[in-house]
């Protein structure tokens, strides 16, 4: 039931994309009609809204869609924006997986700092959309990459499917501190202390390296 609802919503989104591509003038009308369709679909299966599977599926769809748009869209700034959306979806996944501290850290570090860095560079270099989409090896390189990517995905899917039955943990059975800052801090400062200190050294080295590499040479 959840899968049918999700498939229905995916069809609605693709229909909107198709209509927008084919008849740009009718975008608002199509958007309103399809939004009404989506709401109707959800209203027909209200019980699905309470399941984790539905929301996880929705977030997964958003993550995959934004990832595709990163790769497809020619304008690098738009790619940055879609990566931010993707990072948000992954933060939501962390919340579903009981990793609350990681979700917050993902937004603070990845979406709030690293992506600002990307945004700055794109704005500073004032990059426009890529002119011409032909790669050096011609279109053949791109088609080859996509086919090999598809094969790789198939390989990974196969490996995941053959995992066999693992014990399934009910949501309520976690130790109450799982995923909190306290637990993670406890591990970081005892068992993984060396890696923690090495990581801070790495960050200092990266900071110094970035400043030196990007410095303007004074003539």
């Amino acid at each position: 039931m959840v899968i049918r609802l999700l498939l229905g919503l995916i069809v609605v989104v693709f229909a909107f994309a198709v209509i927008r591509a084919l008849a740009p003038a009718r975008t608002v009308l199509a958007g309103a009609a399809l939004a009404a369709g989506a709401v109707a679909l959800v209203a027909l299966n209200p019980a699905a809204l309470a399941t984790v599977e539905f929301w996880a599926g929705l977030v997964g769809f958003a993550a995959i869609l934004s990832a595709l748009m990163i790769v497809i869209h020619p304008n690098p700034m738009v790619s940055v924006l879609f990566l931010i959306v993707n990072l948000f979806c992954i933060a939501l996944f962390y919340l579903i997986l009981n990793a609350q501290f990681l979700a917050a850290i993902q937004i603070i570090v990845y979406a709030g700092a690293i992506m600002v860095l990307f945004l700055f560079v794109v704005m500073l270099l004032n990059l426009k959309a890529e002119e011409g989409l032909t790669a050096r090896g011609g279109g053949l390189q791109r088609i080859g990459a996509v086919i090999l990517g598809g094969l790789f995905a198939g390989l990974l899917f196969d490996a995941i499917r053959d995992r066999g039955a693992q014990p399934y943990f009910e949501p309520g059975s976690f130790a109450s501190g799982f995923g909190t800052a306290r637990e993670l801090g406890g591990l970081l400062f005892t068992r993984y202390l060396f890696a923690f200190e090495a990581a801070s050294l790495l960050l200092i080295a990266a900071m110094i390296g970035a400043v030196i590499l990007a410095k303007r040479r004074l003539r």
Binding site: A50, I107, L119, N126, T180, A181
Partner: protein, 345 residues
Amino acid sequence: MDPAVARVLVESTVKIALFFFVVLTVIAYMTWVERRVSAWIQDRRGPNRVGPFGLLQPLADGIKFLFKESIVPPHVYRPVYLLAPALIFIPSMVTLSVVPIGPAVSLFGWNIALQVADVDNGILVILAFASMGVYGIALAGWSSQNKYSLMGGLRSSAQLISYELAMGITVVGVLMTTGSLRLNDIVTHQIEHGWNVLYQLPGFLIFLTAAFAETNRLPFDLPEAETELVAGYHTEYSGMRFSMFYMAEYANMITGSALAATLYCGGYHVPGLHALGLSEPVAAAVQVLAFGAKVAFFLFVFVWVRWTLPRFRYDQLMNLGWKALLPIALLHLLWVSFLVLTGRG
């Protein structure tokens, strides 16, 4: 639907609606407060024509903005241009949702926390959405597709990320003495051990300075100054969208004040209220009013500083953020560690 889920949904919806209503009203009246207080500082009258003491002025301003023509310049990147004003507003609203405005009350047999979302890592939510606040301004500057807006957006984003570091470090100082990431626990700790402003005064001052920088208020408002870069990142915006930027700035001020009150000044705590022996709902109402008073005081400080100090030049601003506030914040962290080790904090 599960009755517990239904109850949470109803409770949250009512709280969110109330929060929105209150915050939007406060934003509207902040414009009035700003104009009257600035007039008082400059020894003149403020708006006093529209309604008694000019109290209907925000209403008149709102109606004016609504009736302005909505111009979207043709050269802008439309999707992001239309999205950017909302993107500035959203982080401050979400941050406000984790701030406790009062103690938990039991009304109608339910135990209601006076907080929209009582999450276990409230401080992390605040830091997360403080860092998300950069995007609205940077994207507004970029989507306008003109050199001045781009520069204004870049400068403003650089300023925001520089000061959010110092702010984060002072918040870590509060976290160290409290030992918990929940904002309710921070307020409870302050009720028991005294307000954080008393032993973490440098941290409080750094937090307040960083809050000024984060909200783009004078003396840190170079990116949007009228004499600089035309109007910075909101050059190409007019009418209702421009007023969204204005409102978002006040919303950010309210969030900054609420955070300063909660993290350093005891939140909803009224010292000595316990001795009065009031009944629970009345005590809760008094504490909510006390919280409101603290936020109002910080808002007044925001307006007061704006009309008193001159503006920083951009390089002075960045120097202050990196070379002055950051080392002082780190030293403050050493001080707080000393407090925690000796059992004082």
